[in-house]
């Protein structure tokens, strides 16, 4: 029996290695994951596995203080993931299934939160809803305590629901209306169709979005630092261990503890996806999608959406306003001096460097994500789930750990002692001022590994929807794997690719905690300048940086829409070819 299983795995690999392109892709992806993600992580976290740290585990898992912190982290993660997925679902549903006004506006407002410069959203929330908030205190006259679980869930859900929205919107658009029609013809009402047809078909997307948001929420550092109050989570604890206590051992132990819930949600998600068959893009002709007209449903959902849009507009409006006044909420006189500081002072070089490096990392992350998704969903090989999860580590681990890992591993050239070849320099020195490209390469790599997970999840969700028969047809018509991927798969998952490119760019532009350890005098990074300004309590300058950052990302989104095409472009015509 075991022999048979082994034989099957050998056969799987043999099949993959029959196609050199596929083999190279798999090898390349594995090397990427191993050298650039696992190695740096292991250099920090690996230490926690040594027996001398057993008492630390003992203490952290049994003492009530730490149990409480772990519980806080879980509660925050589940709550944020649930709220974000629900809101994302709501927005996607309104976009695809309802005929209501302002849809375009809602779409744009729902995209904006992916640009959340560190500390900006949290700070704006304090300005609006803090104890002395413009709204809580100014309009309602209460001293409301935003610090803690509620404020954190609000800030994180607002920043993260877009992931769920984009994934689910793409999936809903791809749903075959024929299924709805069939159900309706069989006598099912709209609600029943939604419950028994639409929802199950979207389950992989929901599971995938939930996983991503959960993993990101529990590893987020910026928001808990500003809005946490006395609500402590593992991410802040890890940060404090390293930065304040100079104690990497306990940080490593905490990081390992932090990975457990991520792993559990990952397994759960895989289980859900494997159990459901949700293929809806078959290449066969399909019907026309139908809107839902019931006025109660329509206007309730529309109202909800608009309320959330208003909140987003308020928060980002606050950021913009903050950049143009002396001190927001205290001295509201108009001024341009913050922009003068950013554009003519220290900021201009940082602006350039960050944009440049993000432009380099974006296509790499987007395509790599699609490629890994393709391998993971379509190909059978041993260690498939491990590859998937290892890629997710890029976001599941707090940036501080990744940054330090990079510094530990890549501050000297990476040399491997190989049999026969002797020592081989795998990578030159990547970090620090004297490194390749003044340390810029290390920053690009960190950008890539921080944004690949989102691309991967979007790709996985999109691919599970597409009937493998389309690709099989391509292969049996004589195309090889590379050609099939390029000509069939990639165009079919174009909405997912577009979403991942947008995310990759926005994420790169806003990454902070890992970057702190990698900036050099030659490469200044905007987020770190923002952090510097926040630390020096010059929020006006920080807001001005954020406004510019938002403008850059919006421009990039525009360019990507034009270049890669939106969901209303070619592939919809392809999907509805016989319409």
């Amino acid at each position: 029996m075991q022999n048979f299983a082994l034989q099957r795995q050998v056969n799987q690999f043999r099949r993959i290695f029959q196609d050199p392109v596929l083999a190279i892709a798999l090898l390349g992806v594995s090397l990427f994951v191993f050298i650039l993600i696992l190695l740096p992580l292991f250099s920090v976290i690996g230490e926690s596995l040594s027996p001398k740290n057993a008492p630390l585990f003992q203490r952290y898992l049994t003492e009530p203080i730490y149990q409480n912190i772990i519980l806080n982290t879980l509660v925050l993660g589940v709550l944020t993931a649930a709220v974000s997925t629900a809101v994302g679902f709501l927005f996607a549903f309104v976009q695809v299934k309802l005929d209501v006004p302002f849809k375009r506006l809602m779409h744009i407002l729902a995209l904006i939160p992916i640009i959340s410069p560190p500390f900006a959203v949290a700070t704006a929330i304090i300005v609006l809803f803090g104890r002395n908030g413009v709204i809580t205190r100014g309009v309602f006259g209460v001293r409301f305590d935003i610090y803690g679980l509620f404020g954190l869930t609000l800030a994180l859900s607002l920043s993260l629901f877009t992931v769920a929205y984009l994934t689910l919107r793409g999936m809903m658009q791809a749903l075959d209306p024929a299924l709805d029609e069939a159900a309706t013809n069989l006598g099912a009402g709209k609600w029943r169709v939604f419950r028994t047809v639409t929802l199950p078909m979207l389950l992989p997307g929901i599971a995938s979005a939930f996983l991503l948001v959960f993993v990101e929420a529990i590893a987020d550092l910026g928001n808990p630092l500003v809005l946490g109050g006395n609500f402590e989570v593992l991410a802040t604890r890890i940060y404090i261990s390293i930065i304040g206590l100079y104690d990497t051992s306990s940080a490593a132990v905490f990081s390992l503890i932090l990975l457990v819930p991520s792993l559990l949600v990952f397994i759960l998600q895989n289980y859900i996806i494997s159990r459901s068959n949700v293929v809806s893009v078959t290449g066969k002709p399909s019907g026309t999608p139908q809107y839902i007209h019931a006025p109660l449903v329509r206007w309730t959902l529309f109202g909800l959406c608009m309320a959330i849009c208003l909140l987003i507009a308020l928060i980002y409006g606050t950021i913009v306003l903050g950049a143009f006044v002396e001190v927001l909420g205290v001295n509201n006189n108009f001024t341009l001096r913050h922009f003068d500081f950013v554009l003519n002072g220290l900021g201009s070089k940082a602006m350039w460097d960050t944009t440049r490096l993000s432009i380099i990392s974006t296509p790499v992350a987007g395509l790599l994500g699609m490629l890994i998704a393709f391998l993971v969903v379509r190909k059978e090989f041993f260690g498939r789930a491990a590859l998937d999860f290892a890629t997710m580590l890029g976001i599941a681990v707090p940036g501080t750990i990744i940054g330090i890992g990079f510094l530990l591993v890549f501050n000297t050239p990476t040399v491997w002692e190989l049999p026969f070849f002797g020592p081989v320099t795998v990578l030159p020195k990547l970090t620090g001022g004297q490194a390749m490209f003044g340390g810029a390469l290390a920053i690009v790599i960190v950008y890539v590994i921080r944004s690949v997970p989102t691309a991967l999840r979007a790709g996985v969700a999109a691919l599970t929807q597409i009937d493998p028969a389309i690709e099989e047809a391509s292969v049996s018509l004589g195309a090889d794997n590379a050609r099939t991927f390029r000509r069939i798969t990639l165009p079919l998952i174009r909405p997912a690719l577009l979403a991942s490119l947008i995310f990759a760019f926005a994420r790169s532009m806003t990454t902070i905690s890992a970057i702190v350890f990698l900036t050099t005098p030659q490469t200044r990074i905007m987020t770190q300048q923002i952090l510097n300004e926040v630390e020096n309590v010059r929020y006006g300058n920080a807001f001005a940086y954020c406004v510019i950052l938002i403008l850059i990302v919006l421009t990039a989104i525009g360019v990507l829409y034009l270049g890669v095409g939106s969901t209303t472009g070619a592939e919809r015509a392809f999907q509805g070819g016989a319409r």
């Binding site: 630092l225 620090g432 005098p521 630390e535 309590v537 929020y539």
Partner: protein
């Protein structure tokens, strides 16, 4: 679509090329700079203009700076570390990360502002104070605090903020100030009770300090990450009193919170920080770094800070003092022992994390 990918690829290649070309640099002195960024810029530009040595900096908070020096100790990125509380320098020295240097210019400094072995030298001094929002305090019916005991007033519940001693030198200075005050009290009652033979405050004094912070915890809204952040909370009216360095409060007033904030000092004595400077062990460009070290201690260099609104006091007695600065000589300051503070830091911070921060407030 294919065209787009091709042009995107071309853009990437060009960008990488541009970056690479820009970085084919000559040798430069790299400074690890911890104070406010404007000051870093002003300092590096002045040094470059005066010596002709190309100088650049990276700005990091002191905890991040130490973590980064440690992680890159096999191939140091920085040659000199300028600014930030000396506690971090003492901790770095204990790990063998610093290179001692007896600068000829250090002779001008009073003894308490430099290390006897030349490991670090002070470049500025700042004093702790209470930065209060007058409006909030009026509403609560509380006068701006003038003693450490005033902060324990139950009417200030949820209206005090300080930074977290683990992430902020400011907050640790606050803590050690209380330790010193308690040790003085114990010592006054009975010789040998407050300080041991080596001049270290006794365990009893530290316990007393923890008792104080456990009480204060009931009034604290949040332990912020950065030392100056509580000042903004006070400026915004989120809280009534912030425990921060007084020059940070003055800076806030200059930056737009003029009529809202007021600075007071504890009558029983306040703590102060020394901004340190040290050379990094095994670092490149050591000669240039030493030149910087000498230069940074001169009176003229120390007058750069006030020009960019950094109002800490100079350590060189010949340097002119800005009129906005708090004068150390006019304040009651505690007898702050930096060596002892540095030695006790880890234990105290860990205990603070264990015993104080996680406590529920009621």
């Amino acid at each position: 679509m294919r065209k787009f990918y091709l042009s995107a690829l071309a853009v990437c290649v060009v960008l990488l090329g541009v970056t690479a070309a820009a970085l084919a640099q000559q040798k430069t002195l790299t400074v690890l700079c911890t104070p406010q960024e404007d000051w870093c810029v002003a300092m590096t530009q002045a040094f470059e203009a005066e010596t002709g040595i190309k100088t650049s900096y990276v700005r990091l908070s002191s905890g991040e700076a130490l973590a980064r020096i440690r992680a890159s100790k096999d191939a140091p990125e920085f040659s000199v570390w300028w600014g930030g509380p000396v506690d971090a320098f003492i901790a770095a020295n204990e790990e063998g990360l610093l290179e001692p240097y007896q600068s000829p210019n250090a002779a001008a400094l009073p003894d308490q502002y430099k290390d006897a072995n030349g490991v670090w030298a002070g470049v500025y001094v700042g004093a702790l104070g209470f930065c209060s929002n007058v409006n909030v305090l009026n509403e609560l019916g509380v006068e701006p605090p003038t003693s450490w005991a005033d902060l324990l007033d139950p009417r200030l519940k949820g209206n005090v903020a300080m930074a977290h001693p683990a992430t902020s030198g400011t907050a640790f200075t606050t803590f050690w100030t209380i330790v010193t005050l308690e040790a003085d009290k114990l010592e006054a009652a009975e010789a040998g009770k407050g300080y041991d033979a080596d001049g270290m405050p006794t365990a009893a004094a530290v316990d007393k300090a923890f008792e104080y912070f456990a009480q204060l915890h009931q009034n604290v809204l949040q332990y912020t990450r950065s030392g100056a952040a509580p000042g903004t909370l006070a400026g915004r009216g989120e809280i009534g009193v912030a425990i921060i360095f007084s020059h940070d409060c003055t800076k806030l007033q200059v930056e737009g919170f003029k009529d809202v904030l007021t600075t007071t000092f504890p009558a029983e004595g306040t703590g102060y920080e020394i901004g340190g400077m040290a050379l990094i062990k095994n670092a490149p460009e050591m000669e240039a770094a030493k030149l910087w070290f000498d230069w940074a201690l001169t009176a003229k260099t120390q007058e750069i800070g006030p020009m960019v609104n950094s109002l800490q006091l100079p350590t060189n007695p010949d340097a002119a003092v800005s009129e906005l600065s708090v004068k150390l000589a006019e304040l009651t300051v505690v007898n702050y022992n930096f060596q002892a503070a540095g030695k006790s830091r880890n234990a105290i911070v860990e205990r603070f994390e264990r015993e104080i921060a996680p406590r529920p407030t009621n």
